[in-house]
């Protein structure tokens, strides 16, 4: 005997009826998009998950569908308002109705998505990244690196096909200054960009001594999928990178966290190239100025020495004249002294010398009466006899 039973179809129908009765109206559900596929008909199929906080462990999961007509409308609005394409990894708030199909089972039918919720989530993620980088103590590290005077060996992280990269290279080529740019290829937007850019940074880190500067540029195009530049891992790499990093990511809206921790943030790849050329030009001007200063200083030094030699020459001749006149003066006064002691001088004063037989008489006992004396006066001799 067989127990009373239902067929599988009856069971599924029963579940479907009960479920749909339990959730008669649509409701708003928040979840993370784990997978997203759009098939050739334009319908969008999603896997929604909710993970345990700060982990990758799924607590619950459900399939969801956005039919083509809804998807076109919803995804366009989502892009306009968030500046991002709806992709896996995002947290969304979706208006869903619960459906159950006998063949395919449980599924959520999405009728709307609220972009403001995702914006809030992205902003929250962004703030978390900023807070964590500051807590790590790495926030200012790249900005505080000294910029080398000469920055002409550039490591460029970009997608070589991007228009922005082409503009950047073209601008450098037109510059009168030499600049060696080496490309490190990376996807610079959307999923995978964060890992790609980190890999490029790691490659540069292996050749640090060959570069002065790292440039991250993202060429033109839409402003979507930029949340990779707010990712904690990329920003932590940028902040702690040993070479200064310059960004030209080309945002229309907010500044990314990568821009904030980079050494120098510029708007576009073209602006980065212009900045590099401007630095080279100002260094050139500075060198020209310095070489002129050196030349002027050398000329001034030579002039000083020339004047000093002229002065020494004058001094030498002056000192010689002085010395000679000093000696002449000494000779003259010596001559005067000698002259003043001469007998002739004394005779002129009225003194005279008496001689007897050629001998000068210095005592009364040296002359007797009758002796003939010669008396010398200043202009001749007088002969006389002693009484």
């Amino acid at each position: 005997m067989s127990d009373p039973h239902v067929t599988l179809t009856q069971l599924q129908r029963s579940i479907k009826t009960s479920l749909e009765a339990a959730f008669p109206k649509s409701l708003w559900v928040s979840a993370e998009v784990a997978e997203l596929k759009v098939n050739s008909s334009g319908h969008c199929y999603l896997e929604l998950v909710e993970k345990a906080p700060f982990t990758d462990v799924a607590l619950s999961q459900a399939r969801a569908t956005i039919w083509r007509a809804v998807y076109q409308k919803v995804s366009r609005r989502f892009e306009t308002e968030t500046g991002q394409r709806l992709t896996a990894g995002m947290r969304i708030l979706a208006q869903v109705s619960v459906t159950y199909h006998e063949l395919y089972g449980f599924s959520l039918n999405v009728s709307d998505i609220d972009p403001t919720f995702t914006l809030g989530e992205l902003e929250r993620q962004r703030q978390l990244t900023i807070a964590q980088l500051q807590k790590d103590g790495v926030w200012d590290m790249n900005r505080e690196l000294p910029l080398p005077l000469l920055t002409d060996r550039i490591a460029v992280i970009s997608s070589p096909q991007a228009a922005g990269y082409q503009d950047f290279m073209e601008q450098l080529r037109r510059s009168p200054y030499r600049c060696d740019a080496t490309i490190f290829e990376a996807v610079v937007q959307g999923a995978g960009a964060e890992d790609d850019i980190i890999a490029a940074l790691d490659a540069i880190a292996g050749r640090l001594e060959q570069f002065d500067l790292v440039v991250i540029i993202r060429g033109g195009g839409s402003a979507v999928d930029l949340s990779c530049f707010d990712g904690y891992r990329l920003c932590a790499h940028v902040a702690q990178f040993p070479l200064p990093i310059v960004t030209g990511i080309g945002h229309d809206k907010d500044v990314s966290v990568t821009d904030m921790v980079a050494h120098t943030m510029l708007k576009t790849p073209t602006a980065v190239a212009a900045w590099l050329v401007e630095r080279a030009a100002s260094l050139d001007a500075r060198l020209t100025r310095t070489s002129m200063e050196v030349r002027d200083a050398a000329t001034a030094l030579l002039q000083t020495h020339k004047s000093r030699l002229d002065l020494l020459r004058v001094d030498l001749s002056h000192q010689t004249t002085l010395l000679l006149s000093r000696h002449t003066e000494r000779l003259r006064s010596a001559a005067e002294l000698v002259d003043s002691r001469s007998p002739k001088h004394i005779l002129q004063l009225g003194f005279s010398v008496a001689r007897c037989n050629g001998m000068a008489i210095t005592s009364v006992h040296e002359a007797d009466p009758g002796d003939v004396l010669q008396i010398e006066v200043s202009d001749g001799t007088i002969e006389t006899t002693v009484n």
């Binding site: 030349r295 030579l302 020495h305 020339k306 020494l312 030498l316 000192q319 010689t320 000093r326």
Partner: protein
């Protein structure tokens, strides 16, 4: 004298003049010392001129 440095020549000139100023110069050596000082000054001037020419040459080369 040819190989004498500018500084050494300058120091000797100063030394000779210092003897004049402090009246330590004798007439016997006057001629010789004045001769020596004059030669030293000429030597220094020549060095200055050469230096000036070299600087001009460097300047011309770098601005080419």
């Amino acid at each position: 004298m040819e190989n004498m440095t500018y500084s050494d020549a300058m120091a000797e000139i100063e030394q000779i003049l210092d003897r004049f100023r402090r009246d330590r110069m004798s007439v016997d050596e006057l001629t010789a010392q004045v001769q020596r000082a004059t030669e030293l000054i000429t030597h220094c001037r020549t060095r200055l001129m050469k230096t000036e020419e070299e600087l001009q040459r460097i300047d011309t080369e770098t601005s080419e």
